[in-house]
Amino acid sequence: MNNHTILEMRSITKEFPGVKALSDVSLEVQAGEIHAICGENGAGKSTLMKVLSGLYPYGDYSGDIVFQGEVVEFKDIRASEAAGIVIIHQELALIPELSIAENIFLGNEPTRFGVIDWDYVNRTTLDLMARVGLTEDPTTKIKDIGVGKQQLVEIAKALNKSVKLLILDEPTAALNESDSQHLLDLMAGLRSKGISCIMISHKLNEIEQIADSITIIRDGRSIETLHVKNDGVDEDRIIRGMVGRSLESRFPDHTPSIGETFFEVRNWTVGHPTVPDRLVCKNSSFKVRRGEIVGFAGLMGAGRTELARSVFGRSYGNFKSGQILINGKEVTLRSVPQAIDAGLAYVTEDRKSLGLNLLDDIKATTVSADLKKITRGLVVDKDEEFRVAEEYRKSLRTKTPSVNDGVATLSGGNQQKVVLSKWMFTDPELLILDEPTRGIDVGAKYEIYGIIQRLADQGKGVIVISSELPELLGLSDRIYTIFEGAITGELTRNEANQESLMKLMTASRKTA
């Protein structure tokens, strides 16, 4: 490995309206190394890569990017690609209906007299595919090859642009073990040919295996850079760096009063909605007691939402097997209305696209999950609607001039209160809250925590799914960890801390 710096990012600061996403972040990548960037969800990893790749153009951020010894000012992705920096996003940017060769040369088609030179395209494609270890016909359509191979096509595409620094965002998140291993081997091969890689990953075992150095980002700041060989870094060391923030008192005081188990899921197994053999929930069992707040911890894509939504009236995936018991009696919930009737409520993680009709006003949203309750004969009673909405507005302290206003006019925290009131109005026994505080400022978070605790005190069961470990630790009476669709552990309030959780969330089932 020759030791000179290929990339240096100096005190990068990037602000969004009201939020400092990156604050004085520095990053140094050596030529011919694999450099991992670690951090919790929302720590600022992706923002940093967007700055580097020119997606946030020069001028949008402050600080310097020095690439191959020169200060660069990328105006867009094309500029960064021209310099030899290629980013491969988690969601692949391939066009399914085009062939491998067409995808590799998309936007970069070689022409002779204005006509695409297909001979050259196909010859070069074969060549590039050989370099990434892919054996397919160049005319095969992207949709006909698996995700693992698609990832390789992306890398071949990058090689075609004579890449010097390759950025991979969660490259193995969607891959199975053998595909992942193949990809890691390929990265090692590229390294030996002098191509540097930046890799963002939640899979700490892979980072430990392949990375030369690691930069840890937390809350928009670069915390430290570790050299794997010299510093003797292992997973525990990385975790400590990632979560090492102090817990402030961000939660209302609460003494739980926990009753008997009333909701239980046994051996829940669900298939992926479109990929036939992939399982999104693997033989998962859990239970919830009255008055209890149960946390579900897991990284993005671990299958938390899939589990919750499949339990909520099979609204996600292909149900394979498993039982739901409510008060000891087995029930079958085939549809969302059945789940609601059985006393379940599910608050989605994606408020805008799954949780709200942004065209609606607050009062209509509040009653929308249980219109029957305010219907007299055929007529939806609008006085009652107004009264109910007012009641929730007052008790949840939703900040709005009037419940006649549209939900689109509210801030995230107040929208979430409206969504909560909509489900509280159905008078559920079990509330499943998926990322209940995502995109909400600290003050509103505190209020939402208070609402969750009040619901538990009323004897309801509450499941909280969250990517923020401090939130789960502060709120939950018991926490399940999920990794790759399976429940890998169950920790009580006393047993759980960030390290123990992170270990169960990232390690495969060795501790289960």
């Binding site: 549809s335 799954l354 609606d360 929308s368 219109l371 107004f386 206003d405 909509k422």
Partner: protein
Amino acid sequence: MKALKQILGGNTRQFGMIFALVALVVFFQWQTGGKTLTPGNMMNLFNGNSYILILAIGMVLVIIAGHIDLSVGSIAAFVGIVVAIAMRDWGIPWYMGVILGLVLGAVIGLWQGFWVAYVGIPAFIVTLAGMLLFRGANQAVGDSNTVPVPEGFRYLGAGYLPEVGPSTGYNNLTVLLGLALVAFVIYREIRSRRKLEKIGAEIPPTWVPVVKVGLLCAVILYATYLFATGRPGTSFPVPGLILGVLVIIYAFVSNKTILGRHVYAVGGNRHAAELSGVQSKRVNFMVMMNMSVLAALAGMIFVGRSTASGPSDGVGWELDAIAAVFIGGAAVSGGVGTVVGSIIGGLVMAVLNNGLQLLGIGADLTQIIKGLVLLVAVAFDVYNKSQGKPSIIGLLTRNFGGGGGGRKPDAPVREPAPTEQATGTKEVISHDV
């Protein structure tokens, strides 16, 4: 200015859409030298457009749910020819013909609803296929011939309210209808005022509703006078009556029932609706099916009016109905629109058509003007939304005619955040205009 605002229920925009309509009527009345507001012309206007307006009622629900229906003209034609032949060849009475037509419309609706809702084929494709299919079926069944319909059936499309009771110089039923409407408007106003009192909301001074109701009643009474004093044998037309009843029913369903709420919910955000327990497939099925039934009715009214069913009945109707809906404030992306708004949109088009005709302007220029009106009306709306301002058309039709629920007068109307610009305003309308 403040006084005017108060008369209009604290919201100048509330009656804006009607203002546009009234302005058009006044303009043409002036330009045609009084030929617009005559009993004969008004009856013509209603008879000649009621079937398009009936289609617009169904179409707005389809569009609110996020679909489109291109097949309505062909369905109307197909139902028309089948009913005409059934009455001619099998000798069934006219009312059985009407029932047959409605049943046939429902069966066609089952077919289209099945493909859209349960197979998941976009309504654009399903109804484009239906447009070809039922046009062909019309010509196959009728051998591309024109089939006349019996006298009783013509009443449906060209009939008038009969003369009953003592001779007063007016058509008694029309007068009664007008008076009933006036009574209803007054009753509604009193009731909504009581409601405001009950929840303790701010109540506008007494003279405001008096002037508001007074204006509305004057318009109704004048229309009643026009319809009741036409040449002997004419009065309020039957198609207008059918239309009126349908508007009341559908405004009620869309605004006050669970089904109506669900149509808006599915159109506004299908996934959110499903996760709230709305059975979106059933909703989609219902709106598509309903559209076909209304298309069947519109087809029969047209056949009744033109006394025969022909191979090119209903050509282009779908476009007139869709235009009415969009002028009436619906959004292409679904979730937004009102029944009454669509009727007003349809009336704007109808008055324009009629007025230009009276002025002797040719069909070519009339089409150009209508096309521009549609484009400008919607472009204005889109521009406003892209500026982060609320949709003008949405606001014009919003909260039409007041309505219960305790909306405080002068409640601040907040602009949607720029990120939500494309969403516009979904507003409910009360049915009693």
